[in-house]
Symmetry: D2
Subunit: 296 residues, 4 copies
């Protein structure tokens, strides 16, 4: 059993809402942990952006797993991996479960968009979904491929594809019946009405997950009261980093010196703390007599 | 010949100062390019931080090359790779030159600190340098291992090791004689006196490089007048990203909704622009009739 | 321009047949070079086998590129990469061309089987092909995405899918019209009749490629007389290694000592030659005074 | 706890000798498992050869871990990783233990040669060892860095460095006192006298390990009677593959057809069995109605 998966299962059964934030590398994952979130969302959108490519199945399962694995090595809270549609058909999905589980990833989120997928935020008009029975079989296969407690989250893009509440509910029921441990119902509306409406019609024990990227106005407690147990702030940290890096670089370019940006960037000591320089120094004191290298 | 190396050689011969900024992944490299810098510094400090480990030879040549290569794939300006001490002895350095050159990296910066190195910013008291003759041989070997125009930058940590101006100058002369295309003279003082003093004593054609991380008060033009031709703002972008991510995450955690952070993060459209979604859409229009997937 | 692509283009215009052999890692690629073949086929079947997974789109583009890139670093002859169907749709294919080209791969072979593909040797009854117009657009997109002389080989699985000569020829013409530099016509029959028949009906300048894995009885010269210019022995080296490793391991297990296998395995000196230990020693003599490490 | 580490600990306490064989990739690891060995030795010599580079610290920890991890994903028997000297100093070694353990590697073998190491088989005259106290601290640090049952094997190159029995014994005692779970005493003599002599003087519970690459004449039972509990046939499989691939490629080149080599290579069906095509087919039957892809 992977301990992180077990931690996540306990969280999903708790009374309070579970709040996650998205990361794109080990450092952002550690910041997610340090700022008190329950888990890290290994965001496909953010990892793709960090590699400077669109979120459109251009990064492969290998790339996404590498990113998630590096996050898992940097934190003790669970990693929830954004796995698109399982990176192909059900055979790819089974393979994915096996390798992600070996890598210690706590949870896999599998959506019903067709490969190659396209980011739901890109506002593509004609979104195509995998046939619901085929997708339910994929979810079942993912669950049966596990050898440990790994959490399987089934995500439906029914709202994003414009198929409406009924289709979203039917798919969610099928995925829950197939064994999904949670249902992520996605929406790109600017109000959360689709998600809240869905939640009001959801009568299963399987917990609901929301990703309020576009419907920013709803609070965690409001979601919780509506029956949404898990909230993921998926890409705000990455987008904050873009804004800050651009402004700092522009200022460096304009001023020609680092003095003016010093007040708006993390001091060197903060970077040292983040990478746990203190642990390295403790190891040096314990195992080396004279600093980093033993004299030769 | 790698075109990026050629671009960099032209820059090094130009009249105006060359200004670079550090990156830690493809996205930050693209921001460095978009904000008008001449080249990207693939910073060991920043790449290590992005992996949440100290800058102490814990990431390997493989890791550092991967990061630099991803940057090279995302920009058209040259990548200057921070190669520590060549990741071992002269044999490792030769191997490194061969694989970095094949990967299209424009320039390699090789320093005279002992493996495993420790970040010069960690203020370790007893810094040890490689014997100067051995290091000069390493620089010579690196230069002779090239098959293309790759730029070799020799970096001395003589000031950081507390060895003073004379040792710094002697080492720089030896490295220049060994074939180095540029000399990076490092200092962790809060004033730039060491570097400016060094520049006033440097009478070779080989250009000088400075990394004003601690001596933030000196401007690019001031460096240029003092004879320093290349300025690297090595880690400010990464440190800006840390500050911004932490603040945004804390606010998300405190507020429980994304509304309040929207004003301080890049909008989704800016992320789409950064990853060149327009190019993907142009490809779709040209090669697909009906959106991302051809109907089947 | 990648020199290896240029070498391959020259070979394709030569009078004599071009003969390639498949490899699965850098070592087997070097053996292909040392035994006198013109180019290395980075076989999807063999690379998948070396990773112990079926050849069914379980390894990703990232995995396949890594393998091809390692081969490219070990030899001076061109690498011809087996790229399945471009690892997705035309957008994936364009991305693939860009990253493979940057990695110095001389040629890309793109087939018309549907993603996820299944190895043609697995004798699956109902093989599905991509619509021929869609595939022709994919080939055109691949050709137009190049910035260098990279060779694009279009492979049709029409015979494998049981669609017959006419369909094979129509597809080949469409792919040639779309810009393909060569046409690989695949067949899994035990006689080469399909391929030879095809060749007798082929009247374009674009050279033909055959992979005689199942129809082992036809010689290179016979292919050449029939108009097939390129012959690929795709996986025999890997299959030889399996036979030999299994026998040697069984014998070690049975005998409990290495003595009895010594006569059937490469001596240590041969391994040292293959990895170019002589070059390492020459570097040591040139750049170190006292063996591998300079005394400290 | 990693199950593989636990399996290995049970083996080390068993009455019969433990016999391992070396692998260089997932496929050779699977052959090691299928032919009945107790564990897989992830050989630095063989992995380096498969990448076509000398075994001289040119491949990094990242490369070696990747190879070991791929082996671990392909078998259920334990992986024993050849970790050279811990890839640097004690700080590197601690980092290594953490990342290897997360990757599910059952055992780590750490030797006392200086970084960069050079393969003991290259017959370098002046082999240098790490100071024995420093090395003992490194072993202790490795043991204390574990969070699971990972086996730490301490390897001494004292015989290879020409330091004799007394030094070998003293080092072995120090490493055992530091917590090593087994002692690998290496020798490159053509007779096993050094190792057998060592064993006759060893009176600790900590089991001994031998690697009879050069002293091929001694049988497993003979080692066992002498008190050596673990025997590793480190690189014979890889060397068998080189011999076989070279001969097959030469014959293909000479004959111009595959017919003549068919008898000496694994048939296609054997490759399919090795990669577990039957499991893929079982998944298809269970989760797909009509072959590899569901009709769309």
């Amino acid at each position: 059993m992977t301990p992180q998966a077990s931690i996540l299962r306990t969280l999903l059964r708790a009374d309070r809402p579970v709040v996650m934030a998205g990361a794109h590398d080990a450092l952002s994952a550690r910041l997610v942990e340090e700022t008190g979130f329950d888990a890290v969302w290994a965001s496909g959108f953010a990892v793709s952006a960090s590699r400077a490519v669109p979120d459109a199945s251009l990064l492969t399962m290998t790339d996404m797993l590498e990113a998630a694995q590096r996050m898992a090595g940097a934190v003790t809270i669970p990693i929830v991996a954004d796995c698109d549609g399982g990176f192909g058909n059900v055979i790819n999905t089974i393979h994915m479960v096996q390798v992600y589980e070996r890598a210690g990833i706590a949870a896999l989120c599998i959506e019903d968009s067709v490969f190659p997928k396209r980011c739901s935020l890109y506002q593509e008009p004609h979104r195509e979904l995998v046939d619901s029975e085929e997708q339910a079989l994929k979810i079942r296969a993912a669950c049966e491929a596990r050898r440990e407690e790994t959490v399987v989250i089934a995500r439906t893009e029914a709202f994003v594809a414009g198929l409406g509440l009924q289709e979203a509910l039917e798919r969610a029921v099928m995925y829950a019946d197939a064994g999904a441990d949670a249902i992520l119902v996605h929406s790109t509306r600017e109000t959360g009405c689709e998600v809240l409406d869905f939640a009001s019609h959801w009568h299963r024990e399987v917990p609901l997950v929301a990703v309020p990227t576009t419907y920013t106005g709803i609070q965690v407690d409001e979601f919780a009261r509506a029956g949404v147990r898990v909230i993921i702030f998926a890409n705000q940290a990455m987008r904050a980093s873009i804004r800050a890096m651009r402004e700092t670089l522009l200022q460096l370019r304009a001023d020609g010196s680092a003095a003016s940006v010093e007040g708006q960037i993390a001091p060197l000591i903060e970077v040292a703390d983040l990478v746990r320089l203190d642990q390295l120094r403790a190891h040096e004191r314990r195992y080396l007599n004279h600093g980093l290298r033993v004299p030769q």
